[in-house]
Amino acid sequence: MDSSVIAMMIGVSTFLGAIALLAFLFAVKNGHFDDSKKMMNSVHFDDEEALNDAVEKEKKREKLKEKNYRPE
């Protein structure tokens, strides 16, 4: 009984840690840390407008993509 509790606790805590590790690896792989200054700098300008811009950018991309593929 005792030992199964220990095994479970080690298992659960390691599993939780592993999730964090995987999240970190995912971020590294996707270039989250490529620009060391960006995170600190862009915080200054992080507002509603920036959020809108990001959405607009996606929309624009989709719109232009359609246009690009239009049969001519």
Binding site: A7, I10, T14
Partner: protein, 794 residues
């Protein structure tokens, strides 16, 4: 007194009277005014709130035509297509000072129709722009960047850079896994060691062992993958390297520990497995962290060589790819442009800055019939010249190709730790094997003999050895950075400490590289503000020198009329209808004023109302503390030599002032590099230089040191950059390098001493797991602690 106010765009301060008034705003120039209005029209004026009081550079008003960006040859070289069929280009944006600048560029470009994404890296100002060719042209995008006050150059994000980035990311990920695994194993190990002394049931022990087993598996096989790869290549080339020791040690320990775990008896060593891998990986990571990428060098080089130039065909100016220009073509060179093809001047005249090739700090006037050498820049005039060579045979292109080969085969001073580890690894593996044989045939069972043999490898874990060099180098590296010395690769500190000869360039390295006033003679009374206003209207080095000299006492600008620059002569202007002249003796003679221009240095005469009022004598002077610093460097036992492209007299003067016995003058860039190469055959050579004329020699030298104010290419080619251009810093860099090197040697001695004590104990079978773990960490801590001593003296 006129109050100084800030320009509303660039925030630089000027006298109120010279500013352009526009409603309630003030601007220093039309460029700033233009940008300000453009931003407010496009709703981007919140830029000024974001930028705060950051001083921006004044927008450049004249640019090369952006149409070159739309040519097929440009597309071939720089533009790629992404998966959706959009075009992508990588640019270096110039003029970015703060995060608000990045915001403005991203925002302004993002608002353009057809631009899908503009991403700018905050750290290196490199931009990646994605756009749709059917909606917008690249030239329009470039025009927008220029319109808001910045400039952009294309660069080729070469495979090399991509590869370097990928390698670094790979290290991050492997290191993250290793650190995660080791840290978790360590807290489990705490329970195990506690159990070792106070008693623990075998059941719990097996659970702990199993947890460690699971955690150490990714550490060994994922994080430690490079060591397996390294061992494979080592075996293939018949070299016993450190990778083999790490890989065999870790793997054997791992297998043994699995056996213990399954067998339910004995002590498992999973903690040692992950610790060995993690520590050695950290050491390797520290080394790669500060490695410079050759990729950046090539970027700056291609930025300096325009891919297209203006050629005159049938009285029309056409853009031609430099490779298509033929001998006999008439080339047009505009003001401020750099010639990329050799030729002979046909029309016009201009002063040429040849400092990049000859080291001559004063501009040279070229007239019809004079030779134009590629790599030189026209300072004050537009000319037409006829090509006498094609691009591949021109001087500049020759230098570039020589440079590329020099970078490729640059000698590397072998690192002391590498030499050591080879013998070390082999010795440990043999000792471990011998231990096993002795114990096994001495009557102990296989299990005991194997365990003792393993403990030899574990205790000899090269953690301290692996950390000895990188940690000391890194401490030296950060210390030198504080002093304004940028080592591009921290391992260079080690190489620099072993240097035997230092070769100096003269202009810009030992001297200031620009003429400064050494004598000022005043003949008549004149308001000095007048002279200052006159000289600051020109960008000629001589008038710059005079303005610099006068700046302290009279830095106000008076309004001059009819300003006119006379090429190769001087500046003409009028003030309250009186004529003001400033220039060389020839210029004043042409206006009927006879002056005496004998004596050393260059002269700048000023005449007002047709009488001579002042004479300035300018010379390229030695840097402050040059003598002291050269003395200090000599004390380190280095041989000092000067190599210069300049005239004999000026080189000789500098050499004797500094007490440098060996000097060579009148050398071309190729001759300089030949000299360095010849010297290298017997000695390790450090080269300190700053100009394009030095880059070949710099690229060939064992260690290249560039002045921070030097040309971009020289900085890129070099291993060390002196950010404050000071020779004192140069001497400091030698001192720090030497101190670091001696500490590296101490560190290696510590780790070897540690092994000399513990390995015999392990061979005799006295090492228990706890002692092994503690002594391993202790030796690593000792090495790190010792490395920090570099800072004590400074």
């Amino acid at each position: 007194m006129i109050e100084n106010i800030k320009c509303d765009h660039c925030h630089l301060e000027f006298g109120k009277d010279v500013m352009i008034k526009d409603d309630e705003h003030y601007f220093c120039c039309g460029g700033c005014q233009g940008v300000f209005h453009l931003l407010s029209e496009n709703g981007l004026d919140s830029f000024y709130d974001k930028a705060g009081s950051t001083k921006l550079s004044r927008p450049v008003e004249e640019f090369e035509d952006s149409i070159t960006f739309d040519t097929p040859s440009f597309y071939d070289k720089f533009v790629s297509k992404d998966k959706d069929g959009f075009s992508e280009v990588s640019l270096i944006i110039e003029g970015i000072h703060c995060s608000a600048c990045v915001w403005l560029n991203e925002k302004a470009l993002g608002q353009m129709d057809g631009v899908i994404e503009a991403y700018i890296n905050h750290t290196n100002n490199k931009a990646k722009i994605t756009w749709s060719d059917s909606n917008v042209k690249l030239s329009q995008i470039i025009d927008m960047i220029r319109a808001i006050g910045y400039d952009a150059f294309p660069y080729d994000p070469s495979i090399q850079e991509v590869r370097a980035d990928k390698a670094r990311k790979d290290y991050y990920m492997r290191l993250a896994v290793a650190v995660f695994g080791s840290m978790n194993i360590m807290w489990i190990a705490v329970a195990q060691y506690a159990g070792y002394f106070t008693g623990i049931t075998q059941e719990i022990k097996t659970i702990l062992n199993t947890a460690e087993w699971i955690l150490s598996t990714p550490v060994l096989f994922y994080s430690g993958w490079n060591f397996f790869k390294g061992s494979y290549y080592g075996i293939k080339n018949h070299i016993v390297n450190m990778d083999i020791l790490v890989a065999t040690g870790a793997t054997l320990t791992y297998i043994y520990s699995i056996y213990i775990t399954l067998n339910n008896s004995g002590e498992a060593y999973f903690d040692s497995v992950s610790m060995i891998i993690t520590f050695v990986l950290i050491g390797k990571f520290l080394e790669t962290l500060s490695k410079k990428s050759a990729a950046d060098t090539l970027d700056v080089m291609s930025k300096n060589i325009p891919s297209e130039i203006s050629v005159i065909e049938n009285e029309n100016i056409v853009l031609k790819n430099v490779n298509d220009v033929e001998i006999g073509d008439t080339i047009m060179l505009r003001l401020g442009e750099r010639a990329v093809i050799d030729g002979i001047l046909l029309e016009g005249e201009s002063n040429f800055d040849e400092s990049s090739l000859s080291g001559e700090s004063e501009p040279i006037l070229k007239k019809v019939g004079d030779k134009i050498v590629s790599g030189t820049t026209s300072i004050d005039g537009a000319i037409r010249y006829s090509a006498t060579k094609d691009f591949t045979h021109s001087t500049l292109s020759n230098i570039v190709s020589l440079l590329e080969s020099a970078i490729a085969k640059k000698p590397r001073i072998e690192k002391i730790a590498n030499r050591l580890s080879e013998h070390f690894s082999l010795a440990i593996l043999l000792a471990s094997f011998a231990t096993f044989l002795v114990w096994f045939f001495g009557g102990s069972g296989f299990e005991v003999s194997f365990m003792i043999a393993i403990s030899v490898i574990v205790i000899a874990c090269p953690c301290a050895l692996a950390l000895a060099t990188p940690v000391a180098s890194l401490v030296g590296f950060s210390l030198s950075l504080k002093k304004g010395i940028l080592f591009k690769e921290s391992a260079m500190l080690e190489s620099m400490a072993q240097a035997e000869v230092i070769v100096f360039d003269k202009t810009g390295t030992l001297t200031n590289g620009k003429p400064s006033v050494i004598k000022h003679e005043q003949y008549e009374n004149i308001d000095k503000k007048l002279i200052y206003s006159l000289t600051s209207s020109s960008t000629h080095p001589i008038s710059n020198g005079v303005s610099e000299y006068l700046k302290d006492e009279s830095n106000e600008l008076l309004a001059l009329n009819n300003l006119e620059q006379v090429r190769g002569r001087g500046i003409k202007a009028s003030f309250n209808k009186d004529r003001l002249l400033g220039g060389n003796a020839l210029f004043l003679k042409e206006h009927g004023i006879i002056v005496d221009d004998s004596g050393e240095g260059s002269h700048f005469f000023v005449a007002f109302k047709n009488t001579l009022v002042a004479k300035f004598t300018l010379k390229d002077e030695l840097k402050d503390d040059a003598l002291n610093s050269v003395e200090r460097i000599k004390k380190f036992g280095l041989l000092t030599i000067i190599l210069s492209g300049d005239r004999e007299e000026s080189v000789k003067e500098v050499a004797s002032a500094l007490g440098i016995k060996e000097y060579h003058y009148g050398l071309s860039p190729e001759q300089k590099s030949e000299f360095v190469q010849k010297l290298q055959q017997s000695k390790k050579v450090v080269m300190a230089g700053d100009g394009i004329n030095d880059i070949l020699a710099l690229a060939n030298a064992d260690i290249a040191i560039a002045m921070g104010s030097g040309s971009d290419i020289a900085i890129e080619v070099s291993d060390v950059v002196l950010l404050n251009n000071s020779l004192v810093t140069l001497a400091d860099s030698f001192a720090i390098a030497r101190r670091t090197y001696s500490l590296i040697k101490q560190n290696l001695a510590i780790s070897l001493l540690y092994n000399a004590i513990t390995i015999p104990l392990a061979m005799m079978g006295y090492i228990i797991p706890l002692i092994a773990a503690i002594s391993m960490s202790f030796s690593s801590l000792l090495v790190v602690g010792n490395s920090l001593r570099i800072k004590w003296k400074y």
